[in-house]
């Protein structure tokens, strides 16, 4: 609302200033309201001084049987009390065609250097008069007025007076009639370009496109107030009429979009009508130009009244800032358009003859521009607020995810612990447990001598140690665990008179294996060593580790030079072998067992990666 109020105040001020200035005009000058008219005189030079025009006119004449570029003389007379000492001037508010001015028979100025027509109809004319040309008593002013195609010529409000008095009036009128519309065109083009840029980034918001089109059409149309060019009258009229149709259609569509309403049929009708009027004006040609343009104005009046009613209804429905501004803008432009029409059709007279419609363009541009900027700013703020909310929500979500992740990690850890616990339990149950139970049976059976009991228990302790080794921090290092096994077994082997051959390359690396795989591997090695000691009576036991390839394949083998065995024959040995195979399968290791009379070989092949 603040924007609207400011704009309204600005506009009222400008308009008020305009009216205030208008009342000043005409002081001290001699205004010529009536002219003698020479309908038959067609010479380039003015009629002789003593001739008196046969007809009277207020400045508007129509010659019958005129040819293009024909001209007629209008003569005015004015009295001076004395020979003036200062420079005088002739000020003509408006003339529809070229004018040449003569004072006491001497030419003082022309709208063009040649006889070529200029269409600067809206420009005020101003010619200096040397004081020597004037004399006390009666003086004559001859105005040679070029006629249009229909034989019409018109000029309004010729005034003769001191240069110093008339010049400010001329300047002010020039400003409001010419400079003002130029400024409005510039502003309309800039606002339109801005809207077009916005639309190019946001194609779905056609409100910007229609607004841009309105602005561009207004800029083009308003140019006919200030562009003076030697073009034919027909094209000049087309220029004044056609953009206005497109501007109205675009403005109607813009209004609908601004109020977020859609009437597809009406919209299509408006656009088709603009096209139709364009074609009608062009096809009907110069002969009917007045009729087609005037009928077009009638249609435009209907359209603009329609927009006015629509904007009013929208204000009633929902009095939002942009709707109220739109309504005021339409109201102003309809009012200004009506004022212009009354001026054009001479229903209204004005000293300054300022056409107001360009100023409504200015108002619409500014008002709507303000609305769009406001909407943009609000959208920005909303987006910023949304961003803040989004950030907060994102943070909350992240926190939640982190918590979930923590929970998941905890669960995973717990599961890993549970797995490990299960593994240890199974190991204790299958290994140490069953061994202890079988030892108890043997001891209770009384068939065992004490030394044998000690050996059995030692086996239990060895078994337990292997399990514990595989659980230690260094337990993931196969070579270290294997080394520890050797460290513990070697005294016993030495005691049994077996030499241990240890074949591990000094620079070999431990394969990456899980604790489970390492334990299985160790158990297989332990089983192989125990088997050899129990059954094969070897003299040398050879344990070797080799890294086969770059791919991480490794081979661990236990060989003895004992008596060997035949697979199915020995019951307890068979169980041991089966045990080894089961472990190898569980640890996804490749196990081969070979035996002949010169010894046995147990070979484990694995890869680093098969976790």
């Amino acid at each position: 609302m603040k924007v609207a109020r400011t704009l309204a105040a600005l506009f009222a001020y400008g308009f008020g200033a305009l009216l205030a200035c208008a009342s000043v005009a005409g002081a001290e000058g001699v205004r010529l309201g009536e002219f003698e008219y020479f309908p038959e005189y067609t010479n380039a030079a003015p009629p002789p001084p003593e001739a008196v025009g046969p007809a009277r006119t207020n400045g508007i004449v129509r010659a019958t049987d005129s040819k293009p570029r024909d001209a007629r003389f209008l003569r005015g007379r004015f009295d001076l009390d004395a020979q003036p000492h200062e420079v005088y001037a002739l000020y003509i508010s408006a003339a529809n065609r070229g004018v040449r001015a003569f004072v006491n028979g001497v030419e003082v100025g022309s709208t063009s250097l040649s006889d070529a027509e200029r269409f600067g109809w809206n420009y005020p004319l101003f010619f200096s008069i040397p004081p020597a040309l004037l004399h006390p008593g009666s003086n004559t002013l001859d105005l040679r007025l070029t006629l249009n195609e229909s034989g019409w010529g018109s000029l309004r409000d010729a005034e003769i007076g001191p240069h110093a008095t008339l010049k400010p009036i001329y300047d002010k009128v020039l400003f409001w009639r010419i400079t003002g519309p130029q400024i409005t065109s510039l502003i309309a083009v800039l606002t339109g370009a801005l809207a077009l840029l916005v639309w190019m980034r946001r194609r779905r918001e056609t409100v910007f496109l229609w607004f841009a089109l309105t602005c561009f059409m207004a800029a083009i149309r308003n140019a006919h107030f200030y562009v003076s060019a030697p073009i034919s009258g027909f094209w000049y009229e087309v220029w004044a009429a056609v953009p206005l149709h497109w501007m109205s259609a675009a403005f109607a569509l813009f209004s609908l979009r601004l109020c977020e309403r859609r009437f597809p049929k009406t919209e299509a009708t408006l656009l088709w009508a603009a096209l139709a009027w364009t074609l009608i004006v062009l096809l009907a040609g110069p002969a009917h130009i007045r009729l087609t343009v005037d009928l077009g104005y009638l249609w435009l009046m209907i359209v603009n009244l329609g927009i006015l009613v629509f904007a009013f209804m929208q204000c009633l429905r929902q009095p939002k800032v942009e709707r109220i501004l739109l309504f005021i803008a339409v109201l102003v432009s309809v009012a200004f358009g009506t004022m212009d029409l009354t001026l054009l059709t001479s229903m209204r007279d004005s000293d300054w003859r300022v056409y107001m419609l360009p100023y409504s363009t200015l108002f619409i541009s500014l008002a709507v521009g303000a609305v769009l900027v406001d909407a943009f700013a609000r959208a920005r703020s909303r987006q910023e607020q949304l961003n803040v909310e989004l950030d907060a929500r994102l943070a909350a979500r992240e926190r939640q995810l982190r918590e979930q992740h923590q929970t998941l990690l905890k669960l995973e850890r717990e599961q890993a612990v549970a797995h490990e616990r299960q593994r240890i339990l199974r190991d204790i149950h299958d290994g140490l447990g069953s061994q202890l139970i079988s030892s108890i049976h043997l001891v209770e059976g009384g068939t065992l001598e004490p030394a044998r009991v000690g050996a059995l228990l030692r086996e239990c302790v060895d078994d337990l140690r292997l399990a514990i080794d595989s659980l230690k921090p260094a337990g993931e290092d196969l070579l270290a665990v294997l080394g520890n096994f050797r460290y513990r077994m070697e005294p016993r082997l030495a005691h049994a008179g077996v030499r241990l051959d240890w074949h591990v390359a000094a620079d070999s690396r431990s394969p990456r294996l899980g604790a489970q795989q390492i334990l299985h591997t160790l158990r297989i090695v332990q089983e192989a060593v125990t088997n050899a000691l129990k059954h094969a009576s070897p003299s040398v036991l050879r344990i070797s580790f080799r890294e086969e390839t770059e791919a991480g394949e490794w081979t661990l083998s236990v060989e003895d030079d004992g008596v060997g065995f035949r697979m199915p024959s020995d019951q307890s040995r068979g169980e041991g072998l089966q045990n080894m195979r089961t472990r190898a399968a569980q640890a996804r290791l490749n196990l081969t067992i070979e035996s002949n009379e010169t010894g046995a070989t147990v070979r484990i092949v694995g890869t680093s990666d098969n976790e």
Binding site: G475, L479, G483, V504
Partner: protein
């Protein structure tokens, strides 16, 4: 009055069966004199303070704390004392902790009398055992050394393993015996033992350096 020529031994072990077994073995062997047999950290420290000790046989898991406390006490007050740790399963973490506290040998409890006495004699002769998993842990710990472990004033040289010591430890960690290492590196058994012994001492000094470093970092002490 005790015989000063015999080795003054302190036994710290809470299990009465093991304690009396150690006492029996040592009293059967020549040249040992049991100064005291303690069953707790407190008693052990009290005995260590009251007597000159040549040999400490200590268990790590004691009812009122960790045996390393006794080791630390002894190695600070009587650095010449040889410390033997006895553990049930040779838990390497604890063994290395004990070495860091000042122990220079360790032994499994299930060893027989010959093994026990062999280890004691080896220790007193300046030898220290080293098994693959302890070697790995030592390597790990020394690798985790801070960039500036201790100020140069307190120590002549930075505490880090020499190339040869690292090499020996790496081989031990891969399961090579001392004899294997001797032939692999073309050095004598005594040289290996010297190296291992030095590693023990470095580990102890290193751990103290680390403690000082950590304390400095935390602002506990000013240097």
């Amino acid at each position: 009055m005790a015989d000063p020529d015999r080795i003054a031994t302190l036994i710290v072990e809470d299990d009465p069966m093991f304690r009396s077994r150690f006492e029996e073995i040592l009293s059967r062997a020549d040249g040992y004199r049991i100064v005291a047999s303690a069953a707790s950290v407190a008693d052990g420290i009290a005995a260590a303070r009251a007597n000159r000790i040549d040999l400490l046989v200590v268990d790590l898991g004691l009812p009122d704390g960790d045996g390393t406390a006794v080791i630390r006490e002894i190695s600070e007050r009587q650095p010449e004392c040889a410390v033997m740790v006895v553990t049930v399963f040779g838990d390497e973490e604890h063994v290395v902790n004990a070495i860091e506290a000042g122990a220079s040998s360790y032994l499994l409890k299930d060893c027989n009398e010959q093994e026990f006495m062999a280890a004691i004699r080896d220790l007193l002769a300046g030898g220290s055992p080293m098994n693959p998993m302890v070697a790995r842990l030592v390597l790990d710990r020394m690798r985790r050394m801070p960039p500036q472990p201790t100020p140069a004033s307190s120590l002549d040289k930075p505490i880090e393993l020499s190339e040869r010591e690292t090499e020996i430890l790496t081989l031990v960690a891969k399961g090579f015996s001392f004899a294997d290492i001797c032939s692999l590196l073309s050095i004598t058994n005594n040289t290996v033992k010297t190296h291992i012994n030095r590693i023990y001492r470095k580990l102890a000094v290193h751990s103290r350096g680390q403690a000082v470093y950590e304390a400095t970092r935390l602002g506990l002490i000013e240097l």
